[in-house]
Structures are given as C-alpha cells and as structure tokens.
C-alpha cells in the first residue's frame, strides 16, 4: 500500500484496506474534492436514456424467443409456409392459432416421468459441484498447505478439457474399472445406468468452473472479516459455513442457476451414462424423440422447448432475490 502516498485525490472516505480499491485506479484525476462540483444528487444519467437503452437491447434479445413462442402456437401447415411474424398482421384470426402442439407434446408417452427423472438428475448434480467447489475454494483461499498454488492452477487448467473426450474413458471406467498391470486400482463398480454415475460425471465436469468462480469471489472477501472470526475462536468449518457461505450467496446463486441449466439441457451425458430407456430418460431425450419419430417437426419442437424451459425459469426467478446489494456493507468496521 505504499503507492497511496504517491497518488493524490483518492476519493475521501474510500478505505483501501477494507474495500480492495486499488489506489490510483479509483482516482478521478482533476476532480480533487476541492475542484469537484458540490455534491450532486448522484443520478445524473437521467432515467430516460437508461430506460431506452435497456429496452432496445431487451427487444433485440427477445425477438428470436418470441418467434419460438409464436411458432409453438401455430399449426404445422402455417409454420412451413409463412413467417411467424405474419400472425401480427391479423391477430384476431383464430384459425392461425392452435394448442394442438402442446397437447401432442404432453401426451407423447411419459413426458411427466421424464420431468421427474430430469429433476432427480439435475438437483444433486447442481448441489454437489457447488458444495465441493465451495469447500475447495475456501481451502485454496484461506488455508495454508503445500502445493496450494500449483493445485489451484491445475484445477483451473482443467476447464479446457472438452467434455466429449471424457465420455468414453469414463464409460470404460464405469463398466470395467481401472487396472495398472493387472492390479485393480478402481474396481468394477458397475455404476453405469445409475443416478450416481450421472451425478458424479456432471459434478466432475462442473467442478473446475465452479472452483474458479467461487475462488475469485471468496478471495475478494475482506481478510479482516475472516481473521476476526478466527480471533473469536471459530474453526475453519464454522467460519466456512457460518460466515463465508452466507456472504457468498450472490455467486452461489448465479453459479447454481447456470449449473442447473447446463445439466437440465444436457443430452449427451445423460444418454451415455443413464441410457435411453423409457423409465430413466430425461426431458431432453423425450424432446429428441419428438423430433426423431416425425422428422423436422418444428411445430412440436417449439412447443417442447417451451415446456422444458418452464422449470429453469422458475429456478431463475426464485434465485434472483439472492442477487442483493451490499451483503458486506457495514461488515467491516476498523
């Protein structure tokens, strides 16, 4: 922190030790407190320009999805012969709307069942990597042990291993174990086709990113906070569960959302490790069969895509309340 003395005009009230603001980076040159205009109400960006730019981006992003939504309510003949946007020229025409696509999708054998299966795969495959990565990220940040930096580097480096290349070796591991010169290192666990096999695979594939993101966040928590817990006699386990985890809810919630989505929308891992049988198949497999049995059934696929989107959206909305401001506000007082 020696360069604090070499910079001038660091915003008064910004305490470098507790906030991690790098001196110099936070310095508005030429606006030393003396020359700056007297305290403005703050929001000088105006409400309208903000609202307009947000709306423009939002509309651009919405158009493709809107096309999907509209198509899912149109009969097949129309989907193939005219653009989805033509519905807006004659909104009242009841003949161009149908619920048949949704009826077909939901009636297609065992869709409800596949929903349950997806849930049984996705929830543990979301909670497991987050839990394991959080423990690891805590250790990588706040515990001392030999090889800490190297191991963390290795974990991050593993992000680049393409999942597709892992499937076949893992499958062999599941079905016939692992031997070095005839000595079994990992026995034949016969895991293939079990939920555990899928959970562990998703956990393994999701761990590097989870550890990387959580380590970045947990590493940014104020050191004084962790140390004060230690002074108060809290062990690592308590500090982690009572202090670090609650403070990390925003990042835990955002990673949870994405892991949930990736697993929910995964077809490959489920297909390889769980198999495609009727009683174990997940939503994405059910969707694929909709298409498989009827060729390019876009009208069904669009409806199916929306049915399978419902749960991820519920998860997103219910986790959104954890993205709150100022969790660490007032937590550090020197």
């Amino acid at each position: 922190m020696t360069d604090v003395t070499t910079t001038t005009g660091v915003a008064a009230g910004v305490d470098d030790d507790t906030t991690g603001v790098r001196p110099g980076a936070a310095e508005p040159p030429g606006t030393t407190p003396e020359t700056a205009s007297p305290a403005k109400p703050g929001r000088d960006w105006g409400r309208w320009p903000v609202a307009v730019s947000v709306s423009v981006i939002a509309v651009l992003w919405l158009i493709p999805t809107l096309g999907l939504l509209v198509t899912s309510f149109r009969p097949r003949e129309l989907v193939d012969t005219s653009g989805w946007w033509t519905v807006f020229t004659d909104l009242g025409d009841g003949g161009q709307w149908t619920l048949q696509n949704y009826r077909d999708v939901l009636d297609a054998g065992g869709f409800g069942n596949s929903f349950l299966n997806s849930l049984a795969v996705t929830v543990p495959a979301t909670v497991l990597p987050i839990t394991i990565a959080a423990f690891a990220a805590y250790a990588f940040t706040w515990m001392e042990f030999p090889g800490r930096q190297v191991l963390f580097a290795a974990v991050v480096g593993l992000m680049v291993v393409p999942l597709q290349m892992s499937l076949i070796p893992i499958l062999q591991l599941y079905t016939s174990g692992f031997r070095v010169a005839g000595v079994p290192i990992i026995p034949d666990l016969d895991l293939n086709g079990t939920l555990l096999a899928v959970w562990l695979a998703h956990t393994g594939f999701g761990l590097p990113l989870a550890t990387y993101m959580l380590r970045n966040y947990i590493g940014g928590l104020p050191r004084s906070l962790i140390e004060s817990a230690k002074v108060d006699g809290a062990g690592h386990f308590t500090t982690f569960t009572r202090l670090v985890l609650p403070l990390s809810t925003p990042i835990l919630a955002s990673f949870a959302i994405f892991q949930f989505l990736w697993v929910w929308n995964d077809l490959l891992v489920a297909l390889v490790f769980l198999g495609g049988e009727q009683d174990v198949r997940v939503v994405t497999q059910a969707l694929r069969e909709l298409n498989g049995s009827r060729g390019q059934a876009w009208h069904l696929l669009t409806a199916g895509a929306f049915v399978s989107m419902v749960l991820p959206l519920v998860v997103f909305f219910s986790l959104q309340r954890y993205f709150v401001s100022g969790l660490t506000a007032g937590a550090v007082k020197e």
């Binding site: 947000v54 653009g83 989805w84 049984a120 291993v161 597709q164 761990l207 919630a253 199916g304």
Partner: protein, 326 residues
C-alpha cells in the same frame, strides 16, 4: 408414478444431504487429532473430494486423449506427430484454427461488453423493472440447444425467389427493403459472424448475471462516498465500479472464452462445418465421431487445451497478485 416420485425424493435427499454429512463427519474426525496434525490434515479434507473427482473425471481422460493423439485412426499403432502434421498441413485444418481464433475474440468481448452495459444500466431501474429486464437477457440461456437452433432457423432461413414466402425474419426484412433474398449461412466469410451472433445471444445472459452479482456486492459506502465527493456516474463506473469488479470481468471473459473455444453444436447443427464455417471443436467431434478417426480427433482436442494454457497462466498470475494485495 408414485413409486417414481418416492424414488426421486430419496435420490434428492441422499445426493444433497450425503455430501454435507461427509464433510461434517470428516471434519469431526480431524478434530480428534492432535492440534498440529489436525491443522496439517484439515485442508486436505476441504480440497480432497474436489481433487479426487477431478482426477477421475478430467485428468485421467485428458491423459488418455493426449496419448490417443499420437496413435492412428483406430487408436492402436503409434504415428508420432502425424496427426498434428495433418492438421496444420490441411487447408481445412488451418481454416478451422483461423475461424476458432475469430470466435474466441469476437464472442467473449461482445458478450461481456453487452452484458456489463446491461447489468450497469438495469441496476439503475426500479427493482421489479430490473428483474424483468434481466430475465429477458437471461431467457436464451434457458432454451435447450435444440430450441436455440430452431429459433435461429426462423431468423436465417432462406428461400430462393419464387419458392414461396420467406420464413426467415432476416430475409423478410431484407426483401421488404427491396433486396433479393440472401442465403445468409452460405455466404462466406460473413456466415461465421452470423453463427457467432447466436453464441453472443446465448451467453450475454451469463455475463450479465455474474457481473450483476459482482456489482451488487460492491460496498455501498464506497459508491456513496464517491458520489458525495462529486464523481459523475460516468466517472463512478470507469474509475470505481470497473476497477473493483475487474477480477470478475476477467473471470467471465475467461469462462466464455473457454466455453466458446469448446462449443461445437452451433456450427455442427447450423452448417455442419461446411461453407467455410469449420472450427476446431467441430473438427474434433466430426473427426472422432463421424469419420471415426480417433487419433486425429484427439489431436484436435489436444490443440484445444494447449491453446488455452497461456491464458490460464495469465489468470494464475492475477490470482497471485490478488493474494499479495490482501
């Protein structure tokens, strides 16, 4: 159905509760050790499970892949560096590398820039408006890949003049402006850009959500202090918010870069790598699974992870710096 439900619920309890029980029991056991031994062992209780899973699920397959990349198409005899020589000697292989480089520059930068701008702007709206606006950007992430490829067909679809009405939005607009319809996905080299747009559309939501949570975790006292000192909102962003979330920006950039580097589905489904749109990840899948050339497919995979190593090294240096600053 009921037994299925019971089974699922049991699975959830076992899967979710089991892992916590495991850590708790392990931690209790470590407590029984003498103090010094406990301090030495405890970190391994925390990182152990992660390291074990990573070894089995990623390290072992990665080594497997590297070995395979020096073997022939059946994955048996050794061929030395032949697979790599083939990749660099083949015009299509070089094109795949060039295109992939373009992807990892364009997509992460644009996704992060738009996501960050949106997170910052939406932060200024009312609570409910913000939630609604953010969910619109997030929406594409919830669409399964099958869904996303259909969505974009309704945008890029092309019918030659005289072969019926356009069902692709872009051509409808283009024709409405008085132009002839264009086969967007066939027109090199711009078709690469059109495919990248799909990825940007998908992943801006990722950048937005993570960056937004970083912005929300900034200490409010700092921002208020700067405002009291007369910093404009523009200065506030460039001089305080951005420097303070720079590590998260870096994390998001790296993450999207790696995801983009590995993504093959968009190209695979939309153009099958034809018309000059081939990329490294798509070559890997095509060689390995379509052409059944295991050695060459593995060599493309190795190319993928070797190329990202310098970027990883950069990240590690940044983490070291973060530690020294604390």
């Amino acid at each position: 159905m009921n037994s299925q439900l019971a089974q699922v619920l049991t699975a959830l309890v076992v899967g979710v509760g089991g892992i916590w029980l495991l850590y708790w029991v392990a931690d209790r056991l470590v407590n029984l050790l003498p103090v010094r031994a406990a301090a030495a062992v405890r970190p391994w209780v925390f990182v152990g499970p992660a390291l074990l899973l990573l070894t089995v699920y990623l390290v072992y397959p990665a080594i497997n892949t590297i070995v395979l990349s020096f073997r022939d198409r059946q994955g048996r005899g050794w061929v030395g560096f032949d697979n790599y020589a083939d990749i660099f000697g083949d015009a299509n292989g070089r094109l795949a590398i060039r295109n992939s480089v373009a992807w990892v520059i364009v997509v992460p930068v644009l996704a992060v820039a738009i996501g960050l701008a949106f997170a910052v702007l939406a932060d200024r709206l009312g609570r409910r408006t913000e939630a609604a606006a953010k969910s619109v950007i997030f929406l594409p992430m919830a669409i399964s890949f099958v869904g996303a490829s259909i969505v974009w067909r309704f945008i890029y679809n092309f019918r030659p003049e005289g072969f019926g009405e356009q069902t692709g939005l872009l051509n409808a607009v283009w024709q409405g402006l008085g132009n002839d319809p264009v086969a967007w996905l066939l027109s090199e080299p711009w078709n690469n850009l059109y495919l990248m747009v799909i990825m940007i559309w998908l992943y801006t939501g990722f950048a937005m959500v993570v960056l937004s949570s970083a912005i929300k975790s900034l200490p409010v006292e700092v921002l208020e202090a700067a405002r009291v000192d007369g910093a404009s909102e523009w200065q506030l962003f460039w001089r305080i918010v951005l420097p303070m979330i720079s590590s998260t920006v870096m994390v998001v950039l790296t993450t999207i870069l790696i995801i983009v580097w590995k993504v093959f589905d968009i190209v695979f489904v939309m153009t099958g790598g034809e018309f000059g749109t081939t990329i490294v990840a798509e070559r890997m899948i095509t060689e390995f699974f379509t052409f059944r050339n295991q050695g060459r497919g593995a060599a493309f995979a190795v190319l993928l992870f070797v190329a990202v190593l310098p970027f990883m090294a950069l990240n590690i240096r940044r983490f070291r710096a973060q530690e020294e600053m604390r």
